[in-house]
Symmetry: C2
């Protein structure tokens, strides 16, 4: 059995327009890397962090908290040193904390000979996600672990559905480098929503699931509408409406906020369209004073993976 | 081409627990029958009505209104006499008006050599449904026409998704013969719903669609929960909670209100369980002073059909 491992823990898009709090999918072109080493000395130690200022204390670090949850449950006769190469910026809205939470438990599980299933690992990863987002929500953690599209059927008991991914589906993401406070993006949402809009939303969730099962790209397009959350949260993202309209004009199937933002995602059929969508996004932001990054990726159907 | 036809226009269950206003499925063991005759004399005439007191004037009769919508659109060089053998009681909550609306247009379309597709027929049938229910809603009309499970993605434009039906799925229905006014069953619903409950509901709609695609009976069971509508409307149905708990104890996958009630439906895996569920339902109502009828049926995947 190996004593060290290097893994890739992918970025993810939660909510996916209509599926607030339940849907998510996994990205291939950006993710954190971690090297995890089995040690004789017991315990969990974070020995290196690159790419971001994060606490080294395992108890205060998302990666450490999920690692400790698993470590304390299993109580193995060894310990682990973790090196974190953070590529996903915290607060970007593309599952930075989920990637941190998932990476350590996946790597440790591999080094220990897979004592746990992915759904077990999800339970541990949620403990890490919870210290970042103040609640156990699985809509980023699930796709980071399982890959593809996932539906969080319930948190308690933990129940994740893996939805088929059409082969020609690509995502384009723009991350405008502004800060949106999680507290603000939550506070802006209403406690109650009109029944009429909720009905449209569950029709869209149902039809998106059907569209993914049947690889019906037209129907994916028609389902990627959010009547509930986007009208509120898009107010916190400068130029959102302009990006969305340019992106749809460029042929994207749909466009909405990634997680709680500020990143904006668009789904497209085929890489060529996804690249045109990237140009359209850049064109809007290039004229502003806001720094940004863009990513184009096939949907990652594998999830977190060993790279060495 | 035939000059007369006899058709079976099935009963249907709308809402299906989690899918208020969008989901429905089709029943095999109860439905209306109609005989439709092509005549040289132009126009639509209802020449016989058995089983129910309904107006003979085509303009005031659900069957006649949908027939006229199609007739006026096509303006064929003939007319039609329609005999209605009404088996589904109006106000039962199992799609009586939808069966009436669908039967005539299906039969006429067959007699004319199928000038229209099923989605075209749906548009005409909605005109009939609208005079019964005061609004164009398709969650009964769609499964009556297409069979199986349907999701009404949108009414305008009309977009119906046909969802796969697992082969071993049965429905049991009890129709307690009480009257619930449509106005009352609408008025009791709130205009706004808590976002938290709406999220649970769209998770359930998504997971039910996934479960139907994958024939996952356990997941069907876990998805058949209505957090939004049932708590209100069940108050109008005597002994609802007792029926539901007995039915679930008998092994049903789920149980909720059919349409706006008063009928209650339960889905089961296999006919044997569906029959035990029927006994359980009867056992609750047999001790009351309320008349009732029960039905057990495989899910009808064909929809409205020619029987002669």
């Amino acid at each position: 059995m190996k004593n060290s491992i290097k893994i890739f823990s992918p970025a993810t898009v939660a909510n996916v327009a209509c599926g607030y709090d339940v849907l998510g999918f996994c990205i291939d072109s950006i993710g954190d890397e971690m090297c995890v080493f089995k040690t004789e000395e017991k315990g969990i130690r974070i020995t290196k962090i690159e790419g971001c200022e994060l606490p080294y204390s395992a108890e205060e670090n998302v990666t450490g908290v999920s690692a400790l949850a698993m470590y304390n449950a299993l109580n193995p006769d060894c310990g682990f040193n973790i090196e974190i190469y953070k590529k996903i910026k915290p607060g970007s809205g593309i599952g930075s904390s989920a990637a941190s939470a998932v990476g350590s438990v996946f790597a440790m599980n591999e080094l220990l000979g897979q004592p746990y299933s992915k759904i077990d690992l999800l339970g541990f990863a949620l403990k890490g996600e919870a210290i970042a987002s103040k609640s156990e929500h699985a809509d980023n953690v699930a796709p980071a672990l399982f890959g593809g599209f996932t539906l969080v059927k319930s948190i308690s008991p933990l129940q994740i559905l893996e939805i088929p991914t059409p082969t020609d589906l690509y995502v384009t993401i723009i991350h405008p480098q502004i800060e949106i406070k999680t507290s603000e993006s939550r506070a802006i949402l209403p406690d109650n929503v009109p029944l009429e809009k909720a009905i449209q939303q569950w029709a869209n969730v149902g039809s998106l699931i059907h569209a993914l099962h049947t690889s019906d790209y037209d129907l994916i397009k028609e389902s990627l509408t959010d009547h509930i959350i986007e009208p509120y949260r898009s107010q916190l993202i400068p130029h959102f409406n302009e990006v969305k309209s340019e992106v749809l004009r460029s042929g994207a199937l749909g466009c909405s906020i990634s997680g709680s933002g500020p990143s904006i995602f668009a789904l497209s059929k085929g890489k060529e369209t996804a690249l045109m969508v990237e140009s359209a996004m850049r064109q809007v932001y290039i004229n502003t004073k806001i720094d940004f990054q863009t990513y184009v990726s096939k949907i990652n159907t594998e999830g977190v993976k060993i790279i060495k």
